[in-house]
């Protein structure tokens, strides 16, 4: 318990340092550029304290919880030696963390409204819900596929750049053919899939695998899973827009 408190105290100081830039920027623009008083100072101070405390707890929980479990599972899967189960796990992790992501649910709803006003789908609640669910499922499938591809790449030792650059070319080509309404949503869905809990877990998984598999370098091979997870949704969502 004593050790926990000492660690937390150390990371509390780091969190304060992490948040100082935002506070300076907001204070400077509010007081110097816009020359306006700060509204609701008390709420601002308590909110900032919450942010600092939250960041401290999160970073510590990351170090003692998410990182160790991600790495130990990667290690165990590598020792078990079953590619099938590893890839199943990779898909479940990508799909499962994305399908329930609150940011994605919000964006899917927004996208359905745009599609309805743009005349792509019928102006009814049912059509809108179907469209939003389809979009969510598409994004979750694409993230599952991304993690599977990324893990396969680590196992095989394929260089990351060819796959990513190939993906970029895919995005550029699809952008030319996809209906304009879907393009913005496709680009933003690549960003929302990588949530604050998914990123550390997926990173630990990749690095753990690259450390456990002989001949792989954790630096060159361990990273890259997040890049896949933010690239494939763009391609899949534009495909979804073109099919409908």
């Amino acid at each position: 318990m004593y050790q926990l408190i000492r660690h937390l105290w150390g990371s509390l100081k780091e969190s304060i340092r992490d948040l100082t830039p935002i506070i300076i920027v907001i204070a400077f623009f509010q007081l110097v550029v816009l020359q306006q008083p700060i509204p609701d100072l008390l709420g601002l101070v308590t909110g900032t304290v919450l942010v600092v405390v939250g960041l401290t707890l999160f970073v510590h929980g990351l170090k003692i919880g998410l990182f160790p479990i991600g790495e130990s599972m990667a290690h165990d899967f590598a020792r078990k030696g079953s590619v099938f189960w590893l890839l199943t796990f990779a898909f479940a992790l990508g799909f499962g963390t994305t399908v329930a992501e609150p940011a994605l649910i919000a964006i899917a709803k927004e996208a359905a409204n745009i599609a309805a006003t743009g005349g792509m789908i019928e102006q009814s609640d049912r059509a809108r819900n179907d469209y939003a669910d389809g979009l969510r499922l598409t994004v979750a499938l694409s993230v599952g596929a991304a993690i599977v591809l990324g893990v396969l790449r680590i196992i095989k030792g394929w260089p990351v750049q060819y796959l990513i650059l190939g993906g970029y070319i895919g995005v550029v080509i699809m952008t030319m053919f996809a209906p304009p309404e879907i393009i913005g949503i496709a680009y933003v869905s690549g960003g929302v899939t990588t949530s604050t809990i998914t990123v550390p877990l997926v990173t630990a998984l990749g690095v753990g695998l690259a450390t456990s598999i002989r001949g792989r370098n954790p630096m060159t091979d361990g990273f890259g899973l997040i890049a896949f997870a933010s690239l494939t949704p763009m391609i899949f969502v534009m495909g979804y827009g073109m099919l409908l």
Binding site: P21, V25, I26, F28, F29, V33, L34, I38, P39, L44, T46, G47, T48, L50, V51, V53, G54, L55, T56, L57, F58, V59, G61, L62, K63, I64, G65, F67, P68, I69, S72, M73, K80, F89, A92, G96, A100, E101, I114, Q161, L165, V172, G184, Y187, G191, V192, T194, S195, I197, V199, A204, N217, P218, M219, G222, F223, G224, I226, A227, S230
Partner: protein, 265 residues
């Protein structure tokens, strides 16, 4: 009282976020791997800390930083503040009136990225894995500069009305060229840093800036332009991280070059 209810709501949505992940992890751990976990108490404590930490963090952002940041984005982009007439359809020629907006875009992009929890996670891991060669702060600052530059340029793009895809395609070309010449160890990490930046802290503030800008300039599409800024925020860190690696390699080379010559002098 209202604060507590809204905190409970945030906590609930965080639980919704964590629960499927925990189910998958522990399900595979016990059913497929059939192994106990080392230090189960500590892992569990870690999950609880992550859960509460994230809930506090989001609640604090919603309560303090987001409302003020969004209000500022609106005020800074209002025609009265910029000193241009509202009916002018010549925003493209008025681009220099927006200097404060670009500065705001740059600084808010930089500072929110420094506070981004997923970037902290990736930086800690990269530092461990590289044996200290990639500094935690070095990486975070490199990514933050990339985001700052991307958002400032994105704001200029909205003001000037140039098409988004010109920028994105030339950005990709620069990324391809850099990939050919930068140290191989950094490539995967650089690509990853594009994905981690568009997360909890950055997106709401940047989206508000995009919305403010495009709804005050006639002929802009608020939805598309907001998304455009986020696309920029994930493209430019890839370049800045590869640039950071290229610079450190160059400095290291020059340094060792000097040292190699010293005994002969």
């Amino acid at each position: 009282m209202g604060g507590i209810t809204s905190f409970l709501q945030t906590l609930l949505s965080t639980v919704q976020d964590v629960l499927p992940i925990a189910t998958i992890l522990f399900g595979f751990q016990f059913i497929v791997l059939r192994k106990g976990i080392k230090n189960p108490g500590q892992i569990l404590l870690g999950f609880v800390l992550v859960l509460f930490g994230l809930a506090f963090f989001l609640q604090g952002l919603e309560q303090a930083l987001f409302p003020l940041g969004k209000l500022m984005a609106e005020q800074l982009t209002a025609p009265e503040f910029l000193g241009i007439s509202e009916t002018a359809n010549t925003a493209g020629e008025n681009w220099h009136h927006y200097l404060w907006v670009y500065l705001f875009a740059f600084t808010i992009g930089f500072s929110t990225t420094i506070a981004e929890p997923s970037l902290i996670a990736v930086a800690i891991k990269a530092n461990q894995v590289s044996g200290g060669a990639v500094g935690i702060w070095g990486l975070r600052i490199a990514v933050a500069i990339g985001v700052a530059f991307g958002i400032a340029l994105g704001a200029y793009r909205i003001v000037s009305g140039t098409p988004l895809h010109y920028y994105i395609i030339s950005g990709y070309i620069v990324v391809i060229i850099q990939t050919l010449y930068c140290p191989k160890q950094i490539i995967a990490l650089a690509y990853d840093s594009g994905g981690v930046t568009t997360s909890t802290v950055t997106v709401p503030l940047v989206a508000a800036l995009g919305l403010g800008l495009s709804s005050n300039i006639p002929g802009r599409n608020p939805l598309l332009d907001g998304f455009g800024l986020i696309a920029f925020a994930s493209l430019f860190p890839i370049m800045s991280v590869m640039g950071y690696a290229q610079l450190s390699e160059w400095f290291a080379k020059r340094h060792s070059h000097k040292q190699a010559h010293r005994p002969g002098e």
